[in-house]
Amino acid sequence: MAFRHLLGIADLSAEDAVRILDTAQSLEGERKAVSLRGKTVVNLFFEASTRTRTSFEIAGKRLSADVINVSSSGSSVTKGETLLDTTRNLDAMHADVVVVRHSSSGAPHFVAKHTRGAVVNAGDGTHEHPTQALLDAYTIRKHKGRIAGLTVAIVGDIAHSHVARSNAHLLNKLGAHVRWCAPATLLPARAAEMGVQICTSLDQALDGADVIMMLRVQRERLVDVLIPSTREYSRTFGLSLKALARAPKDAIVMHPGPMNRGVEIDDAVADGPCSVILEQVETGVLVRMAVLQMVAS
């Protein structure tokens, strides 16, 4: 085991990433393994993310772990407890794995420094969401048979997306060609230094793309003066059937959810034949089973 925690893809080797994907594959169809019997997995969620939390919970239970959910509402966090104290308390209760979701980038790294258990990052601010990237890679590999050499277009609010960052790291490590596509206001500073090709038009991004990954555009971004309207965004960067027609026929369409239907993706695309969006959710459980098993052992 080359990694104790899974805090991000940036520090994960390509070999370990592939090992996670292979382990996930070996777990297909598994409903009740015993590999984590007697282990305690704490889902420490400081921000709401029902899909990710549920996915980790099911993953832990399918491996027979005792899974406890701690969310910021209804815990001492709302009474002003610091992250340090929360972490120390969980550590005192001997949590074997702590799955952390936090709105502050780097919070899982902080938790990892102050607990003996293994920490899995379930999304930290605008930094990383490693298990999402791993489940995306798994889904891509399943459909395309490989990752190396593919062209993956990631379109949407890149600046505020931990999914875009983790995917750029992972897909690059696995030999894919990654494009980031958004208006300049939704791209982070010096985006090209992440090893991605920057596209400022959807046409450019979709040309020859094997995989199209759409990201959610939050309505708050209007207030931040990043886009003039969701209408204009949808017309220029939204994935409609018409836009999709410019991509290769066998391209697959992905979305980490939750979707803003009619903004970044049209119903006809989200529910159409190219969409693998629900498969991503299914795969998520497998990949998280693999990750929990690997960090807990």
């Binding site: 340090l84 502050s104 980038s105 919070a107 790294h109 960052r165 982070p188 500073a189």
Partner: protein
Amino acid sequence: MSVLFRDVRLLDPATSRDERVDVLIERGKIARAGVGAGQGLVHGAPGTDGEPLQVIEGNGRWLCPGFVDLHAHLREPGEEHKEDVQSGLLAAVAGGFVDVCVMPNTKPVNDTRAITEMLVGRAKDIGLARLHPIGAITKGLEGKELTEVSDLREAGARALSDDGHCVTNSMVMRRALQYARTFDVPVIQHCEDHALTAGADMHEGAVSTRLGLRGWPREAEDVIVARDLVLAEGAGARYHVAHLSTRGAARMVEEGKQRGIRVTAEVTPHHLLLTDENVLGYDTACKVNPPLREAEDVAALRRALATGVIDAIATDHAPHALGDKHCEFSAARPGMIGLELCLAVLLDLVRKGEVPLFRLLSALTVGPAKIVGLDAPRVAEGARADLVLIDPDASWVIERATLRSKSTNTPFLGRTVQGAIDVTMVHGRIVHNRKTGKELP
């Protein structure tokens, strides 16, 4: 008290005098400074003024004027758990500082004569380094109404600043410059367009993108410096850029000086030594405001210091409690301590040949003193004996336990440095002695 520094390397930035001499201190002043000035004088024997003489064998160590810090946060009143005037001044003299200007962002804010007088009085009672309050530009640092500048100045305020907050309203800033000009008080600006830095945690660049932290772009500093230079020129006022951090601001200050604008600037040790890459790993000790920039900024700042575009080195000593730093990055308070470590961390720049020794010493002494109107620091016969004795070769490790400050928030912990403040003397009195920890050689 009479003190003889025997066989020291006298370094006087005001005159560029660099000579191995004896320096005799009597009645708070430098009585003699020259080759053989201490000949025949013996430790414990009555000195020329009859008082028992202390002899400090210099063995070629450096004797310079005491340092002046334009920018410290001593947290009193209001946050004495982080620092107070006593602990702050102890840290100051341990770092060779004899004059410390303190920022007004205390609780309550120093925007009145009462707080200013209280601070001056506290420092006088303590009797280590001298303390010079900086009054707020606007009441409550709110950027709206001007403070009573004449009253503040009479009470001892040497300059005005809303440090931590930028006076972003152009009308208020223009009036502040005009009004301060009336009383010849410099206005120190914390240059940050807050609209461009809302929620920002670090410098905006490739590292902030990688770490997913909200960026504080260079433009936020540069637009304020650009605007303020225009306003300062129009008002004919003395304008000072606090903790200058960008290559663009350095260029604009240089151009402003060439055009005859009365502009000065300071830089912190950390902006001269560290970059945004030091934040990697989410090291909250490296969270400062303005943020650590990039290698090209650091290079520009070093050049600006070396050429005199930057007038002063200021510590921006910002003590914080453990809990303020021992948390997730976005919740961490910005700032690091600096008074005790300033010279020790900076001497490396001299050894590497990036900044001439006299430029470094000037920026710690005559440069800042001039900005706030203090007597020019010098090592010369007849001058007040405010001195530091530096061992440039002493190698030591920066450790939590040996810091005098109440707070230990610095990324330099664990670093081995070369160069130490052995003795600090204020008005002829030894207020710090590294070797003994007491007021004795």
